[in-house]
Symmetry: C2
Subunit: 321 residues, 2 copies
Amino acid sequence: MQALVLEAKHQPVQYKTVPDPQPAAGEVLVQLKAAALNRRDYFITQGLYPGIKLPLILGSDGAGVANGREVIINPNINWGSNPNYQSYEYNILGLPKNGTFAEYVLVAESQLTNKPSHLTWEQAAALPLAGMTAYRALFTKGRLGSGERVLITGAGGGVALFAIQFALAAGAEVYVTSGSSAKIEQAKALGVTGGANYHEEDWPKQLATLADSFDVILDSAGGAGFTPLLKLCKPGARVVIYGGTLGKIPEVSPQIIFWKQISIMGSTMATDEEFAQMIQFVNKQQIIPIVDSVYPLAEGQQAFAKMADNKQFGKIVLKIA
Amino acid sequence: MQALVLEAKHQPVQYKTVPDPQPAAGEVLVQLKAAALNRRDYFITQGLYPGIKLPLILGSDGAGVANGREVIINPNINWGSNPNYQSYEYNILGLPKNGTFAEYVLVAESQLTNKPSHLTWEQAAALPLAGMTAYRALFTKGRLGSGERVLITGAGGGVALFAIQFALAAGAEVYVTSGSSAKIEQAKALGVTGGANYHEEDWPKQLATLADSFDVILDSAGGAGFTPLLKLCKPGARVVIYGGTLGKIPEVSPQIIFWKQISIMGSTMATDEEFAQMIQFVNKQQIIPIVDSVYPLAEGQQAFAKMADNKQFGKIVLKIA
């Protein structure tokens, strides 16, 4: 089969012919129609992940056909028995197990779910990893309710965009930050009430003027920009951290946290149950994932270059068949 | 009546005769048998609280007799309708309303609860504010379960000691930190498994050796000592912040928080419902508050000096009648 293979760190993925995978007992062969990139895939090519084994077919997100059934793939492997956290055996399709940037992938039967019928193959492939991460962060951890006010930082990222769409569908009032004013306008076109560009020094004041304060805040940046978020919290607010691209948070006031009774909660990925709930929610609300761009599998290197450039608004998708 | 009156900030409280309080409609007069100091009272004398009105009778904790009934007082005034956080109208008996360091105090009927029959007046007076704060922090926020491992920092403080007693009664395995090795030994005598002195540089390593890691951590210090606490968290751990005596936390890693799915939750005081649950728990478990020392009301200045000295292990109590 044809696949995108990472042969060495800090090198582009290679489009090449590899042996067709052979299902072992309990495995199902999925013929992929589309796959989607996550920042995780890019980080792996940069050597920024523990336990990298090469050569490796990357890719956690995929949709295709298994035994005549149209499916999308839950990328979870061995979450474990406790819904509060992943087990030590937990891993994600695409490392160390070969992933979805190929014509075929082997998964467990339990990883398969019917493809939502209102989605194209490309839209369906865009959904799993970012969608499930947004769902757990927003609902299980953030406990976002209808009519509440939520701030989602870094609009444009895959998880952030699903969080925006899910929050709007749940009846919340949504605000964003972004380093790009164009992305803020794109978010407004989706139904977001307002936003602020974090390259402008007074962005926290801009948000306070627009929205006063927030019931829920989702952040994946950390760094110095996290500290002002706590001042934008309503009493009883829930702040969910699902990433930390800007590194350590340099200053946190315990007084703000206990006096406002704020909860700061870490979240990553989601349980199999949350994956199923997320798919139900997408079906019920007829949510359509936002696809930034589609590349043929053979042009996978351009797809990775697009992600490295960080200008996308929505998912970068590979069309496979 | 006789009372301890704060007449000016940064001055000792004065033991003096003041007019007897007269109940307005809906108020009940309590003849106090004992009262207890909280750090809040000391902070108010130092001017370290907003909205100080003078002259003022301090005191949030008290037990006594109201219309022939033996009662302890819930110090909450106007928590409000949302259990997740106190309303803007919320205040605590003893500021701005005159408190319990007097022969009589006026409270609402709803603030009265039967005194636990297994407690002396001094023990009962020691319970309310610190007990309710520990209860909310440990159970509502920390969701501590039987068999879980909990770290309580600053053993010796009023809230920390109740948290230790409640956690032991709930079947948890309890560890502590303190700046005093003597206090760690006193905590062990209560049933605590082990502890580390935070004046020793390798205290986090000592705790890791003793206990590996924790399901729940209660902290009221903040500051630079908070950062190592996150490394001592099990996956899914709950960290509850109910104070910040050492000020800002200088460095927090978002990666640890999201990868371990840690929750950091602020907590202060408790709802009226939690106050009632705490009293039930104390009755059922026959918990006896630890009284460090008892002073006659007339010697209130010595009681405040004892608190300023910070060497107590347990509550500092005033005997009134």
